[in-house]
Amino acid sequence: MSHPILACRDVCKLYGPRAERFVRDGKLAAEPSALAEAGVTAATLNVSLEIERGETFVIMGLSGSGKSTLVRILSGLTPPTAGVVLFEDRDLASMSEHELIQIRRHQMGMVFQHFALLPHLTVLGNVAFPLEIQGRPRTEREARAREMITLVGLDGREGRFPRELSGGQQQRVGIARSLAAGPDLWFLDEPFSALDPLIRREMQDEVLRLQGLLKKTIVFITHDFDEATRIADRIVIMKDGRVEQVGSAEELVLKPATDYVRAFTRDAPRAKILTARAVLAPAPPGGDFAGEVAATARIASFARDVERATKPFAVTEGGKLLGVVDRLAMIDVLVGHADRAA
């Protein structure tokens, strides 16, 4: 039985003059109309999530969906109006300020949407900042900071001030700073939405590369479904402060739980999301195959081979034949009929 590194149960954040009383009166389970009547706005409502160690968990939603509030609750920046947040099975609300500070110093790191670099410190000073406030000696923290700066590819810019860097470079500094203390849990709050599309892609690759290297638990907030599918193990889609669905990108595309999720995923790049398993057809008897693909392989990775071949490809898992994919299946995926598979 694995324990999630971070979990929240029935977390709510309400705003309004009578928000506290609203919770005390136990009206949370009531209809949304009750909220409006009481003059209370809900930023998040009854959110329960479990984030496993080592996974990349994406919180996804449009602006106003409550995703930013949720990440602020998960990181302990804002206390929830109701519900609990458990970090390594311990309730954040029950911790003393000292304990929280210790956790943030050693176990959590965060990247901010608008970088939040300290303008009066150099790149080196910014990256070393988390270590400085821990009181580590100068040589140690600067050595570590230089390591981090190298890691994000900013060698030679240690002495620059944040304003002298481009947006992408600034966010690299933000990333280096968030990793300097070696956290287990890494929050990225819309880290790339302030960047140009090209740079954004480059930075997503950077996160994937770092994740391959460092194996952190990542909580990543975004409003961009493409971005979510590129980096996520699991995605939670939020709307109006509530959870619409939690699952892998493929599950969201294939089995949308609500119309909202369906609308959201309709234009998703299916070839990059779906795996061979999702589109396979039963193997005809006496199989004659052009080749073989793994059941977990994304369609985009083999689509071209299948289209070129006249014969279908075998879909296998652990050497066992599960079925076949052929040209027709590829075209269906790309055109958008997933009915055959679903």
Partner: protein
């Protein structure tokens, strides 16, 4: 380019000691050495300016003024006739306002005087105040106006308050309108703006007394001179606000004016001014408050009114009466401020949906007219009955006597401690500094912070002060203001930090700071003269109290404008509260705090002339005594010295703040 100028961007250029870093410690070291130097080690001319080097501007200015008033002519008429004509014109509205509010309409002089009409009866004024408060802002202001005006009547301050009010109303009307016109001219013609800019600086930093004196000579002794001085002092903010507000009118509005075929005049009065009205009203508020400040000061030299009441009471050593009049000034200030704020907010909201309130105002005006008529028939109605008057003066007297008796040794100990440990040593230090060295350091600071231009400005101004022959008085000024400002910052910055961190504290300090800034500077002196008698220490407390407001306000503002994400970044990195304060909030708020320091210093300087009343020996005293001797030249030169000290400090601090802001990337 020297190494010190190399950009910090160079990698690996970590904090090795650049020559720039050593500069200021070195300067400090030399300064201390110069002060400690035994007598005779320095050349005599460096310690005390030889009389032959002095510019001798003062007698020349005096002689020029004399010539101007006695001999100069425009051909058809003399300068004297011209200025007296202006004075006569300006006197019309002032006399009218005084007649209506205070003296009643009188024809003839002395015993031949025939009273044509009484002033507006006190209860009619109270009703009018309530109606006006309601019309401008609502019930709350109406209640405040009613209570405030009743206070003035009940405690016997009515007559003084109405004289003061009449002066304030007339001079702020003229000041606001004049400021608006001048501001519009500045927007329209660049040349006007370039010419007016430095004059505005001068008018704002020069002590009022310094130009009160030439006014007296130009316009004759009397309330008009005081009014002109008031207008000059109160107008600059209006000019600046007008320039900013008109420039901030959206381009679309201007385009609309062009497309609908407005003439220039129509564009200005039908488009620009109405659009900018909410911002302009902020300027009007400032004009009113500054006018009150100066009217109080000016009334001490014979114009009558509340300031005069305070001064005479203090001279009689009637502490209670002084306090009562001081409180009346406070009440009047608060009423005027809230009323002007109500006007400004009203302009912001627009006039929609206030017809009911307008109606109330018109009804009240009609009522006032009726009451006035009634008072003309039965004159006894016009004045507040003597029998209903209350006085707290004996009570105050008793309280102060009790405090002085009970805590005499404690009060004395505090005073002596400050004098011996802070004031006297700093004063000695400042007076021991050789003037060429001070001039050199100021020039150097100007150069480091703002290049050659700033160096030239600050250097020349310092030199002017040195050569004016008022160096010792100037150094006393710097010492008194310096200590005052340092204490104000020591008190104000922590309070500002607290206010930024805690909403409750913020509310309390907001009210306190508002009140502190509303009160005319003169009020601050009153309670401390009673406790500590006259002298530098009393002056110091008054300066600190008067100047602490911007220290609090700017610090609180500087900290709370920091982007919340930066604070959160600190939290997520595990900053403790103290670390967050020292490593994030304070460094990022520093440019703003420096601006607060600048403001604090300006207020401290403006307090100088007032503190001269309690016997300080600084430039303020020079100005004040010049006024008493009717010595125009001396007064102007001393006033210019104060203005220059202010301008030097302002330019250096602004430059420092700007540089820091740039370095922090705050734009």
């Amino acid at each position: 380019m020297s190494v010190a100028d190399a950009r910090p961007a160079a990698p690996a250029a970590m904090p090795k000691l650049a020559p720039g870093k050593l500069l200021w410690p070195l300067v400090a070291l030399v300064t201390v050495a110069l002060v400690m130097a035994p007598a005779g080690a320095l050349p005599a001319w460096a310690v005390k300016l030889p009389a032959a080097w002095q510019l001798g501007l003062a007698p020349q200015i005096s002689a020029f003024m004399k010539w101007l008033m006695e001999s100069a002519t425009f051909g058809l008429f003399s300068v004297r006739e011209f200025t007296r004509a202006i004075a006569w014109t300006l006197d019309l509205p002032l006399s009218a306002a005084k007649a209506v509010l205070s003296t009643g309409l009188v024809i003839g002089q002395g015993s031949d005087a025939v009273k044509l009409a009484p002033p507006i009866p006190w209860f009619a004024m109270v009703a009018l105040g309530i109606a006006a408060g309601y019309a401008v802002s609502g019930v709350r202001l109406a209640v405040l106006m009613g209570l405030g005006l009743l206070y003035l009547a009940v405690f016997g301050q009515w007559a003084g308050a109405m004289v003061t009010l009449a002066s304030v109303l007339v001079s702020s009307l003229l000041g606001a309108f004049g400021g608006l016109l001048l501001g519009l001219a500045c927007v329209r013609w660049r040349a006007v703006e370039r010419a007016v800019g430095p004059l505005l600086d001068l008018a704002q930093t020069m002590p009022v007394f310094a130009y009160l004196l030439p006014m007296l000579i130009l316009f004759g002794f009397g309330p008009v001179s005081a009014m002109v001085a008031t207008i000059i002092y109160a107008m600059p903010p209006m000019v600046r606000v007008t320039i900013l507000a008109i420039r901030a009118v959206p381009e679309d509005v201007r385009s609309l004016a062009v497309m609908t075929g407005c003439t220039r005049r129509q564009t200005t009065w039908k488009m620009l001014v109405p659009t900018a009205l909410p911002a302009l009203m902020v300027g009007v508020n400032q004009v009113i408050m500054l006018s009150l400040n100066v009217v109080i000061i000016a009334s001490m030299i014979g114009a009558g009114g509340l300031g005069f009441d305070v001064l005479t009471a203090l001279r009689r050593n009637d502490i209670g009466a002084g306090l009562e009049a001081g409180l009346a000034i406070t009440v009047l200030a608060i009423l005027l401020d809230r009323f002007a704020q109500g006007l400004a907010h009203g302009a912001e909201r627009g006039a929609a949906g206030r017809s009911g309130r307008r109606l109330a105002l018109w009804a009240a005006l009609a009522g006032v007219a009726a009451l006035w008529l009634a008072a003309a028939l039965w004159p006894s109605l016009a004045t507040y009955p003597e029998a209903w008057r209350l006085s707290t003066a004996p009570w105050w007297n008793e309280l102060v006597r009790w405090i002085n008796l009970t805590f005499y040794s404690q009060l004395e100990a505090v005073k002596v401690f400050f004098l011996l440990n802070i004031l006297v040593p700093v004063k000695r230090f400042m007076l021991a500094l050789p003037w060429p060295w001070v001039a050199a350091v100021v020039t150097l600071a100007g150069f480091r912070l703002g290049g050659l231009r700033l160096a030239a400005v600050t250097g020349l101004m310092t030199l002017f002060i040195a050569l004016s022959g008022l160096w010792p008085a100037a150094m006393v000024t710097v010492y008194l203001c310096g200590v005052g400002v340092a204490l104000a910052m020591l008190i104000g910055v922590p309070i500002g930090l607290l206010a930024a961190a805690n909403p409750t504290a913020r509310k309390i300090t907001d009210v306190a700071v508002d009140t502190l800034q509303t009160l005319p500077s003169f009020v601050y002196l009153i309670p401390f003269v009673m406790l500590f008698k006259v002298g530098d220490f009393t002056a110091l407390i008054a300066i600190v109290l008067y100047a602490v407001a911007p220290a609090i306000r700017y610090t609180a503002h500087g900290v709370s404008q920091i982007h919340p994400a930066l604070i959160e970044a600190g939290v997520m990195n595990g900053c403790t509260r103290l670390q967050s304060l020292l490593r994030i909030r304070l460094p990022l708020a520093t440019p703003e705090i420096l601006l607060g320091l600048n403001q604090t210093l300006m207020l401290a300087l403006s307090m100088l002339v007032i503190t001269a009343l309690v016997g300080t020996r600084d430039l303020g005293q020079e100005v004040y005594s010049a006024l008493a001797q009717a010595n125009v030249g001396k007064g102007l030169v001393a006033g210019l010295c104060v203005a220059f000290i202010g301008i030097i400090a302002d330019r250096l601090l602004s430059a420092a703040s700007g540089r820091l802001r740039q370095r922090l990337g705050l734009g």
